[in-house]
């Protein structure tokens, strides 16, 4: 008889296999997501040329030598797109992480404590929702991102800007989930045995709302990547000449799109592919983790 840990692992694997059979498209999208993450991690090793090398012909059409062509500043687009995945996917994950963190805390506090805390948090979220999402991020970055460029500081700021517009969704879902388990008996028991509120929230409430949090986070990654691309395109991103991002690449080549279609097509394809695979994957994950929804969605 296998050890409990091993048996657990087998169960997990079997669940994964079953989920894959049920959602083959989602599983394929998940593979693409993993590949994209791997691409971002190993971008430095995978890119054939240095991103800021300018020793190439200007606006060379895609060919065997330059699969995605070259841009107006004599740079290899293929390498730049590979390395660009770092910022695009990095900020995508970073902002979803921050947004999920903020949203989870707000949702749990509001849902579990209720009363005034709930009221105040609810109004706070209403205020955030009162701004058009992208406009809110633009406003935030215009005000706070005073030293643009590639740094941890700007990475956190951009992630926070996107995270803030993501957080209300997460907060509301978490709050709803917390409300539904808050009245259950084991919570009451935990309260009766004198556990502190913080401990109950951490030990008893959080583990029971993890599934919806994972689902909503995975669904939001695609949106976060889109938002990052739009912000970079507007010049509010964190990329620079030696640290490309997909949105920034589109901004760089704006003047030459007509003359050289690949400068617009290739980065846009990269964005769409990434967003599509994260969307499809998030969708499938939702169906698997939430079987009751399968009939209606």
């Amino acid at each position: 008889m296998p050890a409990p840990a091993l048996r657990e692992r087998w169960t997990a694997l079997r669940n994964l296999a079953r989920a894959t059979r049920r959602e083959p498209v989602g599983a394929a999208a998940g593979m693409v997501c993993l590949l994209l993450v791997a691409l971002a991690v190993f971008a430095g090793q995978l890119a054939p040329h240095a991103v800021d090398a300018t020793s190439f012909p200007r606006l060379h059409a895609p060919s065997l030598e330059y699969p995605f062509g070259t841009d107006n500043l004599f740079r290899d687009m293929f390498s730049r797109i590979i390395v660009g995945s770092r910022i695009s996917i990095g900020v995508g994950f970073g902002s979803v992480f921050i947004g999920t963190l903020i949203g989870t805390v707000l949702g749990m506090v509001g849902g579990y404590l209720g009363g005034w805390a709930d009221l105040v948090i609810g109004r706070l979220l209403d205020v955030i929702l009162g701004f058009p999402p992208l406009v809110a991020a633009i406003f935030f970055l215009t005000i706070f991102n005073t030293n643009r460029g590639y740094s941890l500081h700007s990475f956190l700021l951009v992630s926070l800007a996107i995270g803030l517009i993501i957080a209300p969704t997460t907060a509301r879902i978490v709050r709803g989930a917390v409300l539904s388990i808050r009245t259950l008996q084991y919570i009451e028991a935990a309260e009766a045995t004198g556990n502190s509120t913080l401990r109950i929230m951490w030990r008893h409430v959080l583990p029971n709302v993890v599934a919806p949090i994972i689902v909503i986070a995975s669904v939001q990654i695609g949106n976060a990547i889109l938002a990052e691309a739009a912000l970079s395109f507007l010049g509010l991103g964190i990329g620079d000449d030696s640290h490309p991002s997909w949105g920034k690449m589109l901004q760089d080549t704006r003047g030459v799109w007509q003359a050289a279609w690949w400068t617009a097509v290739m980065p846009g394809m990269a964005i769409s592919l990434a967003v599509l695979s994260f969307n499809v994957f998030g969708d499938a994950l939702r169906d698997v983790l939430d079987p009751r929804l399968r009939q209606s969605s």
């Binding site: 709930d118 609810g122 109004r123 209403d126 205020v127 929702l129 009162g130 701004f131 058009p132 999402p133 992208l134 406009v135 633009i138 406003f139 005000i143 706070f144 005073t146 517009i165 993501i166 209300p168 969704t169 509301r172 879902i173 709050r175 709803g176 989930a177 409300l179 919806p212 909503i216 669904v219 939001q220 695609g222 949106n223 889109l226 691309a229 739009a230 395109f233 507007l234 010049g235 589109l250 799109w257 007509q258 279609w261 617009a264 097509v265 980065p267 846009g268 964005i271 769409s272 967003v275 599509l276 969307n279 499809v280 969708d283 939702r286 939430d290 009751r292 929804l293 209606s296 969605s297």
Partner: protein, 366 residues
Amino acid sequence: MALTFRLQQTIKMTLFTDTMAIIVLVNVAGQTHNGPFSRHMAREPRMGGEHLGRYVAKRLLFSLLVLWLISLVVFAAVRAIPGDVCKIVLATPDVDQKQCNAIRAELGLNRPLAVQYVSYMGNLLKGDLGNTLINKRDVATEIRERVPLTLELTVLSTVFALAISIPIGVISAARQNSAWDYGLRFLSIGWLSIPSFWLGTMLIIWPARLWNYSPPAGYVDIWIDPFKNLEQLYLPAIALGIALSASLARVTRSSMLEVLRQDYIRTARAKGLAEGWVVVRHGLRNAMIPVTTLFALQVGVLFGGTVVLESIFALPGLGQLTFNAVTIKDYTEVQGLVLFFATVLVAINLMVDLSYAWIDPRIRYA
């Protein structure tokens, strides 16, 4: 009805382009609590103008509260700029102290905070958004001049999105799990993943390359030359509306599926109504509430989209104004635009909330 209603309540809670999230919500947050999050609406069998009147007043006050909070956030945010304001305005780290003082005086930042706040609120209530930093133009006038274009663009893209998404959603739901359904669902999730600004660039590039066609440059007022005006706007409207149409199609589909399972649909079928009539007349109308709610949420996304698309298509609307203001860091202008967008958004949400009774007379307000 209970299911539809629940869907509608939960959809209220989302933001952003994620219809996918919404469908999650249906389940997770399905318990309809009348806490501050799931606001103000409860099904009550009572009728009467008094309730409706009280409801309208309550919603109005609520919207004003949110607007006031928004103005407070904007006020605080602008004053919380890290570092010195003039460094940002002048875009250099080493600035002349005299210039700096001039800018601070210009913005009224040398006065006590309370005085600043009173004059800020006073001006807001008068509709005065101040002057732009760079050319000293009146921000409110600038916004007013550019509203028609952005309004037309958002309306056109909405019409486009509805014209595509409602039929797709209805067909998908009526033929659930058919090849049509799968095809249309896949298409709509694909659309959801295309950045609107990228689609915009494709719509500029390819017609020009393939057919040597490009829409007339610039912008003509619709009252002067409607055909030229529409020719200038239809491509950006498609680019802006495509993501909206995808999310609306998804919600229409899932909402239709809920409705088509209801008893009254069975009754309608049982009494021998033609299937098309059942779906459209009895199904679609009842499925419209989640769609309306989602639309209200997506208006904000449309506004965001105009910022990028108007600058791509060189259309002198609010979005382009925002883009320019951000680029040159004219932040009285950014502040004015943000306040304007937020006000419009809150107003639209209010109207949508009030329109539910019209869409579905069974909803009563408590």
